[in-house]
Symmetry: C2
Subunit: 221 residues, 2 copies
Amino acid sequence: VPQRNDRSEGHRTPLTRDRVLAAGVALADVEGIGALTMRRLGRELGVEGMALYNHVKNKGDLLDGMLECVAGEIELPDGGTDWRVPARQRSISAHSALMRHPWSATLWTSSISLGPARMGYLDSALRCLREAGFPAHLLDLAFHTIENHIVGHAQQALGFPLERDQMEEAGERLMRSFPVREYPDLADHIRHHLREHAEDDGFEFGLHLILNGLEQMRSPS
Amino acid sequence: VPQRNDRSEGHRTPLTRDRVLAAGVALADVEGIGALTMRRLGRELGVEGMALYNHVKNKGDLLDGMLECVAGEIELPDGGTDWRVPARQRSISAHSALMRHPWSATLWTSSISLGPARMGYLDSALRCLREAGFPAHLLDLAFHTIENHIVGHAQQALGFPLERDQMEEAGERLMRSFPVREYPDLADHIRHHLREHAEDDGFEFGLHLILNGLEQMRSPS
DNA sequence: ACCTGAACACCGTTCAAGT
DNA sequence: ACCTGAACACCGTTCAAGT
């Protein structure tokens, strides 16, 4: 359960937008995005749900603000001699920020309006590629390929939201009723995933693949 | 507006699960996933919303069934001499199926239970890679990298759900208030996207990049 | 300035009752 | 067997009223 407002004192400290957003992030982290309703978030802050509309335009604005919090956690390294070094660092930082906040990956692509944190992130990524010398059309394609990999991977890794303990049993149950005969390769794949507890989700592998492929296209040798 | 049930006759033809799913797909295609409520879908079929529960377990089951419809549209080519040929075909077919049904991309990763159509798709993709001779650990990483690219790209391309006409004006309005000074590369990028009306979304470029990178890792020369 | 209570127009879902 | 009506427990959101 995220932090509650203490109501021991007669009058509580007044709400701010930042406190509302932080409480929203904490609530969604712990209980999932489904538990994030205006009334519930209000309760978490010791207030009626309607009071939140004084600090947030509507629920969409709340979610946008929460995404800004996530974007603010991404480190933005400066360029070195090889563009792939900062690109790799920033991508990994973005990936782990999305993984820390499991609800954020699906919202990341669907939110239209960008705040300063997300703009800064995107600008930094684009600048890195431009300074590496990518021509305009390649730059755009490179940017989207990297970005897709980041959010695609987070979404997919979070698609199976199972705890370590449940994993074992749910896997057993699944495989008992699974039509192995008809989908043998899929069965193998699921078994493979059940065995290694998703210690490495393959994010860095795919990233490496993409960055190296892009480097080859940048400077055709 | 999707197909309606004709109520000219006194007693209408009875509902089936397939008709419910097809109507759901049509409604979501035309009016967006937000318009897909049980009551509204019932109305579309000339019936009260509650009647749908005779053919569908609940709304989640409805959405799963609709995803199965989308998965059924994906062509599954057999392997040739170069594994990249069928992999490319299937990926492009999957990408355009997701693009034909804009609501499906975000659901694709979040849905847990798989039906036969989606299982067949996944099994086909995995078999293709196995037959190409990828070793187990590489196979898994290759599979996810390709899959992430497909859904990541569809989601991102559909993130800006603007019509051609609105695009122009919305872009103008956005760029007037945009802090170009602070995010110059992002500004460039947005301008670039407004100029070319997303004729090519770069999907095949990234796909090419990934498949070639994987081929290099498969047979290190 | 900030919060509350009541209200509105919606949701998904259940279930007894109809045919 | 299939559908309807009424009901339940929720949503997001608005707004007059309180302090």
